[in-house]
Subunit: 410 residues, 4 copies
């Protein structure tokens, strides 16, 4: 079989699969399942075009990595063919541990099990299956390799993950001004003392990148309606789990049933991964949607309201505030709903919730952006940019949201 | 609530919802379910970006219809506000009867029930619910209205359905050269004696449109891998149904279970629609995928092979030919597989199949394209274009395909 | 004649000419000459694609103005049809006083005559010719009309001039990340107390707009090579004028000859415009290029070096610094060149120059951006954005450049 | 100096200059002059965005050639580094002999001297200057090299010249549906027996390419208004020349004066190229525009009308017909104008003209497109495509046009 396949990508054009090993990894069921997991979860309720998958994103990130490596090679970064394939594999598999609607799942039925842990576990599994050919990739992924910039290309302020997802999410949502100048940014990449830098003349591109990213956060990732739908999804799963734990017989697809009716903690995963992983790998977006669709007709009113919300886009109201919401206000809302819907306060607590948006944030990557000058010096971006309050950009602005059903009399 | 909403579409930019009634129709669960049905079925196995839904397409077609109407108004086509809203509703709902993977479903578990019949039924249902406000839209949809061009804008050689889907499918697959000049085509639209025409100077745009459409057919809709995966999907459902009819207990989501274990014919639908429609409306892409995922681990070998194919992209081989395949050749293949896999010929017949691609074709719309000249005459496009063999373009080229498992020794 | 013409624009698509009066203004020779004046002067030395003209830009700005007005109308801004046409005319003609390579000309042969004065004069001329139909447009242009937001749409922090030129320059240079979200920005426009505002939820779009604009400044408008070529153009014209004033017979096209051999000051224009304006209107990019082409073979060494530079892209070296260059350093360079080229220090002064980039800046528009909130309040952007140092963005960063011939031994 | 420069192109993105020799050729004044020659002449009268230059086009064609070569290398076409650089140089210089408004010039003042002859001459000149490093490039350009496909990539049915200009002209005019699938076409290129082919599965792309090209011809290159303006330009130059030959003193820039007042024939060029070439190289778009601008105020009424037409877009009327225009009709028109404008019939003949559009056509390249099959066979495209009347596409449709002043009473 010809494994030098070319894939047609609407974002980057033709993408060449760079090696046979990478082709085989893409063909593997563990990777193929990413075709069934949407990159942006329920954001399609706001941006109907945003139905792209983690599969496409991973392939796109491999493409950008190829370009970054070949560009750094021209600057004599001294990357060996083995290192090149390893860093390509690391970026291909960087999201391999994601389940459906990851953030929602992590806050409900697989509480405490992070996708990072799962990625790490699955990479080792694949490594075993592929005769240790992923050793170096795993070292780079886990930042155990001495050439730190290779890890930074996979996971850092300017990694190919971000480059691809910002460009791709901008493309699919139609938020055109979120488009970042990926080609120019890659052209400006540089390596000094094994650390990834941006050439000084790229400072305006970096400013633009950071501001475009911020725009994407508030315009897309933290859009009110996205928060409302993610909230309802979390609560739907929490309610289903609550009912399940009480012995209620609920329809659920087999893998979802597993997680609803068992109590899977990080410890269980750690001690007996083989009892958990197959169920996890069996789970994708369709399990959640299919189950919620049935629940939207369930006779538990709370479950019915919540599931109906994410199936038929009957979403809760969201208020956003820079300060925390007053507990008395929340209690008042709970009281109103309790009365109107004839539900106990405990039940209503599944329909009303306040939280901080930063909880939902993609974990921030700690290191800073370095700028390299032609005289050999390297500076922090905060020392170079005069218009950005970098410190503000770094510490994600805290915003609080309060969700509750519409028409509840508030 | 503000019902003059604007939707962000990556293909057309900002789309304004043209009226409150249309807003309410979009909000209706029967329409919202189109969010869960992909426009191009399993084509994402070839074009990973092609995960767009029928929901987006319908909204996009409404947008193009708005533009077409406002353009025709400037040419004094004399369209009343009521007619305008009606034709917008007709295009909004033109695909309302589609289920998941429509063509595959119609060839397996809902054999003989066409999506056109379902659309018609559902429109009448909505009409009842909305107090007969859809009367005129239904007349136009069913070509019962005297201004024929309004129907042609919904369903005809140059309808807004095609305009949107060709442009959208080109965008999402990344097959850029399939992009058609929608804006120019709409600008060239004209009405003569209540019939839709294209101005003579638009002849090159029309040629381009027809050839781009042909390219999209062979490059996307009839791509070998798409045929392979649709074949496997049909056979998966047929096999599941076959097992179900034999009393085998199969996992299936509730609506899919209904269609697998009952024998729903056009007659049943006709006589007792209320017994069928709710199950149909409950069905979407996720039911099929979730069930196939479980079947891919089933102990019926045939079902397991087929379902695994569409879950993990382990697809059959496809041969394409301009002439029919020899029955002896097919028998030979069946024999080889039968021997290798230790299956009866009857079982193997689910894994091997030959058919004509035209069977899969979007039903062709019979009327021809009319060209209007400034001297008042109107001609058929076949009389005007000197480079296109229109007759060939019209009668869909027959091609035969033969599908069978890889590595079966052929 | 059909004056409801449609123009094909690669940036905005089809553009409809909104009225017959505007059609007639576009047809006028004073406007048609903008077809022969490039928007970005010699920037094509860096960005070969950037050969777009002021004609396209003005038409594009009219298009965006149409959209902005129709959007504000939906928000009940209460704009009359007369006001609408007037503001469209005002934006159409906002650059009517531009000559070829405006900034270079203003610093050499028409020293002191600003394009704003010429625009004002020409608008009044056209008004006379068109029977005072431009009265209101001129009031708006000159900010004499009580609805201030109409002037702000023509000339302000968020005017349609900027919106079009940023988007257009990004498109033609290929600096994709300079692309701004024009559609969203227009959607966010609002009017409070006759002042133009942006709705609060548009804050991220505004940040993005400001940063994209900054990127365009440094990546395009103040690109080193652009500065080098503009410097050489100014010096070419200054040298030609110097030789002309000394009685040297130089080839020049008739309008350029007029400005080289006469001393046209703002006073002359003021007192006897009819003696100046026809020559000015006769001047475009081709006069400068044709003359410089001949001068590149002239026997005055200084003129020859300079003219050859802008014809054959043999540009001077540019150094950029945040602090002023030392006079002794400049003297040293002048000395070296003087010696090498056997030229007097006075002659060499045409080849070496230092200046501050801010001198070249598009004059900044003083008012600030206002943000409107749903509770009725209006705030300055500086109070709302937490990540931008607005004060820094407003006061254009001062940078100094020093230009001198390459290979002069420095 | 770093000669591995990268150029920002709005059509193809970042373009890398492939070698130092190519960098030096681009820097040469003979090539730099292409910056001052628009690719589409006066087409900006219809498509204001179409101000792109031959410079950009040549660089873009080099970029596509790089991609084609690297793609053919992967198919083991066996192209040596020397052949690669030679074919890149050949495409870079393929238009080097073009003057301003080439087709118009060849029909007026440099009658009979083709741009192909000039290209050939200039390449040899450059070869001398560059120490014979262009030997192989010239062989390929002149189809003297045994690997015919290299010439075909420079000049053939599927050459990189066409690929770039169709894509670029589509981009700059905004005729989006003229966009061709360059990336896919290049991917489908193949070589059999040293002849360039397209793989059989690329047949739909080729059909699309041919039809898109046809659309561009009629929508852009042969647009009525383009024909009108090119006609007026030819006649302007012919009239100027006629007056010059009669001893009239006309303003003209030096190189244009040379061609107006001398009689430069192919023979003169052949016998004494050094007397002609420097004047030719001195000529660009600006010479024509600057001179026509002065002529638009000349007291010869015919010259004034014609020159005013191309300066201020006061264009003649154009009739298009599939059959030749009747001489009596033409005589009648001449009579009417003669009377109205008080001009002799001989003078009026500069204002009225009929011709066949095919005269204006880009010379067609005789060889046909070859399709290669996986079984090793190669067929003509006419044998493979069932929907295109290839014979019609090949022989350019003859259309006749008749131009005459508007408002002349016809």
């Amino acid at each position: 079989m010809n494994k030098k396949k070319i894939i047609n990508d609407p974002v980057h054009g033709f993408i060449r699969i760079p090696s046979e090993l990478i082709f085989d990894l893409i063909e593997h069921p563990v990777f193929q399942r990413l075709r069934r997991i949407k990159q942006l979860g329920l954001s399609y309720f706001v941006y109907p075009g945003a139905t792209h998958t983690r599969f496409q994103h991973a392939i796109g990130a491999v493409h950008l990595m190829s370009q970054a490596i070949s560009h750094l090679q021209m600057k004599n970064a001294g990357i060996s063919p083995e290192e090149e394939e390893a860093v390509l594999i690391a970026i291909l598999l960087h999201d391999i541990g994601h389940g459906p609607f990851s953030h929602a799942l992590e806050n409900s039925i697989i509480n405490g099990i992070s996708h990072e842990d799962l990625s790490d576990y699955l990479m080792h599994e694949l490594n075993r299956e592929f005769g240790d050919k992923l050793d170096l990739a795993i070292q780079i992924f886990n930042n155990k390799y001495h050439k730190k910039f290779l890890h930074q290309l996979v996971s850092g302020q300017l990694d190919m993950d971000r480059m691809d997802y910002l460009k791709r999410d901008s493309f699919y949502t139609g938020v055109v001004e979120g488009n970042i100048g990926v080609d120019r940014l890659i052209k400006m990449l540089d390596v000094r003392n094994d650390i990834l830098c941006i050439e000084a003349k790229g400072i305006y591109s970096i400013e633009n990148f950071l501001i475009a990213r911020r725009l994407m956060y508030w315009q897309v990732y933290y859009h009110k309606t996205v928060i409302a739908s993610e909230f309802m999804l979390v609560k739907t799963l929490q309610r289903a789990r609550y009912l399940a734990q009480q012995g209620e017989k609920l329809f659920a697809t087999p893998p979802l049933e597993f997680f609803l009716y068992n109590n899977i903690t990080p410890n269980v995963l750690k001690e007996n991964p083989a009892s958990v992983i197959p169920h996890f790998l069996d789970l994708d977006d369709s399990d959640i949607m299919v189950s919620a669709k049935q629940w939207s007709k369930h006779n538990d009113k709370v479950l019915q309201i919540l599931a109906n919300g994410i199936i038929n886009r009957k979403l809760v109201k969201v208020e956003i505030s820079k300060i925390e919401f007053d507990p008395p206000k929340i209690d008042e809302i709970i009281g109103l709903i309790s009365k109107k819907e004839k539900l106990s306060a405990a039940d209503v607590s599944f329909l009303v919730s306040t939280d901080c948006i930063a909880n939902w944030a993609y974990t921030d990557k700690s290191e800073t952006i370095k700028i390299s000058f032609s005289d050999g010096t390297v500076k922090e971006i905060a020392q170079v940019s005069d218009v950005l309050n970098i410190s503000y950009l770094n510490e994600m602005v805290m915003k609080y949201y309060l969700c509750y059903p519409k028409d509840c009399g508030v």
